[in-house]
């Protein structure tokens, strides 16, 4: 039996047994949802429906319904795409990278973080899809044999790399998530009383038995998938950044982009996990599993990646001057002092300044402060993408072309709509799926559970 140092904080609080863990995690699935769940769910569905309406309107009328113009021809669509993909980076990072590092604290948060990843990547993938205008031609992005003189997609283009990166990332994350869910669905199946849920969870659990060999395979699959998903996480946002970095637009043509985008993605992803879990633990009574210590660990990741992002902003600024290229220099001067100064300084405040508060242990361990600061990061990271995209485009090489971007109600509707769809999916997940990885939590109970640690200490 593995024992842990007594001074290391327990990861499972209270007097828990294996059975109690099952009871606590299955309670939201087996019980009835409370009033708050219905209220939040209704709001999310209404916002989602509004978004779906705007999406259908876009598809019907074309992207002329958006605020794009000949100068700013890429705006909220790609901002939202990068924002959502970035948010989608935390889940797989938590489950894959932290698995390789044998970090036990990931076990309480990986399931919901992965669910968040999947939903966020779905929202992200929506934007390039609808931006195509003719979404029914979306399959043209794949290298399929065709009748156009066997014309192939361009494998030299980062936009195509993105197609491969996003689809690989989405499908591998989905498989990783589901493989972890199978044993937990089996737990719910074996406890189910109502015939309908018994049948549903029987199908979902794929007939999981939990015999010794199956568990060996399970562990091996988790480990190898983590090994595969780790470089995948880093590759996805590197490739997203190359959509910009390989172009010749001042402000985009930057070699620092891949690591800077990856750090930003982890930063925003952890902030979103923090936002969601601080609510989830309260609503689903999971305070014993998602503890203050878990929040603190996440805040440490946020302050570190936030600082990396801050250093990247400053190096970018320095290099724009040091390069001696006047266009490059102007692009950055214009970001900070031009008509979009408010976006630039919102980004700087939310991403670089406020997260520095997490250096203080009191702030790091305060749930309210964590929640507020995580919202700041979510906002700041949206502005980061907006700043990179719109401020680099709105004043191009010909001053007679200079303009501004004004979002229409469709732009706003689609953006808010994706938030609505995201929350609808997450709320459904929290109602019908086990939100914590049951089997993994049970495997750390004896080494990291509060009661067992005390017992070991007294021995």
């Amino acid at each position: 039996m593995q024992k842990e140092s007594a001074i290391r904080e327990p990861l499972i609080l209270g007097d828990k047994t294996y059975h109690q863990i099952t009871e606590d995690v299955c309670a939201p699935v087996e019980g009835k949802a409370n009033k708050y769940w219905y209220i939040v769910f209704s709001i999310a569905v209404i916002v989602a429906l509004w978004g779906v309406g705007c999406i259908l309107y876009t598809i019907g009328r074309g992207i002329g319904t958006w605020g794009l113009n000949t100068t700013v021809d890429w705006a909220w669509d790609i901002t939202n795409f990068v924002w959502w993909v970035g948010i989608g980076h935390a889940g797989t990072l938590i489950s894959a990278v932290l698995l390789l590092f044998r970090q036990k604290w990931r076990m309480a948060i990986n399931r919901s973080a992965e669910a968040m990843t999947i939903f966020a990547v779905m929202m992200a993938a929506l934007f390039p899809g609808i931006h195509m205008g003719r979404i029914w031609m979306a399959y043209w992005v794949f290298p399929l044999p065709n009748q156009f003189g066997s014309l192939w997609v361009n494998f030299n283009s980062p936009l195509l790399w993105d197609v491969f990166a996003i689809s690989t990332y989405f499908s591998v994350s989905l498989v990783f998530w589901y493989i972890g869910l199978i044993p937990d669905f089996a737990t719910i199946r074996d406890r189910a009383v109502k015939p309908v849920s018994k049948m549903a969870y029987s199908v979902l659990s794929f007939g999981w038995t939990g015999n010794a060999k199956a568990w060996i395979r399970f562990e091996e699959v988790s480990l190898v998938l983590a090994g595969l998903a780790t470089p995948l996480v880093f590759s996805v946002h590197s490739i997203v950044s190359m959509d910009f970095a390989t172009s010749v637009i001042p402000g985009w043509h930057t070699t620092i982009f891949p690591p800077y985008f990856v750090a930003g993605a982890i930063f925003s992803g952890f902030a979103m996990v923090q936002t969601l879990l601080l609510i989830t633990r309260k609503v689903l009574n999971l305070e014993s599993y998602i503890t203050v210590k878990h929040g603190e660990y996440m805040n440490i990741v946020i302050v570190i990646t936030g600082s990396i992002v801050g250093v990247a902003y400053l190096s970018e600024l320095f290099i724009s001057w040091y390069s001696g290229v006047e266009y490059e220099g102007y692009a950055f001067l214009n970001r900070a002092t031009g008509p979009y100064w408010w976006a630039y300084w919102s980004m700087m405040t939310c991403n670089v300044i406020t997260p520095q508060l997490f250096w203080f242990k009191k702030v790091r361990r305060s749930l309210m402060a964590s929640f507020i600061l995580s919202i700041f990061v979510n906002i700041g990271m949206w502005f980061e993408r907006f700043v990179i995209i719109v401020t680099s485009l709105h004043r191009d090489f010909l001053p007679s072309n200079w303009g501004m971007f004004h979002p229409t109600f469709v732009d706003i509707g689609i953006f808010l709509g994706t938030i609505g769809i995201f929350f609808t999916l997450f709320l459904l997940f929290s109602r019908f799926f086990p939100v914590l990885a049951l089997n993994e939590l049970k495997s750390i109970l004896k080494s990291s559970g509060d009661n067992y640690k005390k017992q070991h200490h007294n021995e």
């Binding site: 491969f164 591998v172 493989i179 737990t187 038995t209 939990g210 699959v221």
Partner: protein, 174 residues
Amino acid sequence: MSKAIYALYDDDEIMVDGAKTILSKNVRIKDVYSPFPIHGLEIVLGIKWTRLAINAFLYGITALTLALLGMSYFMIQDWPMNIGGKPSFDLYQNLPAFIPITFEFTVLCAAHGMAITYLIRNWTLPGVKARNPHPRTTDDHFAIEIDLSENQGVSAEDIKTILQETKPVEIFEK
């Protein structure tokens, strides 16, 4: 189907100790059902480690080859395109631009190939019926399965006596 005797435990350590005792009395254990992976159990039971990782490697290497072959066919043989003057006339020169997709495709096939092999090898597929002997083996109980046909030399009564010594919470036949 032959008859089997099951011993149900409420703690993983008691179960592992029980398994050691049972094996030391020359009774063969058919399988163990548990709600979570128990490290070291495979050594006690003498189960060989899975070869799924080798599978993943093979799927990955196949995908890597396919991606490179595919891209050199599409971009170099079949329809070479001059895009911004980037070299497009042999694989070596064009290779840097092919690396991202080669990597992604390798991960895609290795991960999915392995996941599919895992599901089939485990026989956990939609519509398959669960075979765990007791519903609580997915909650907080651990079951040792002893197949009578594998233990011809020992009577069912003797097995039960041995099992009784290992402090199970329940012994049942199925």
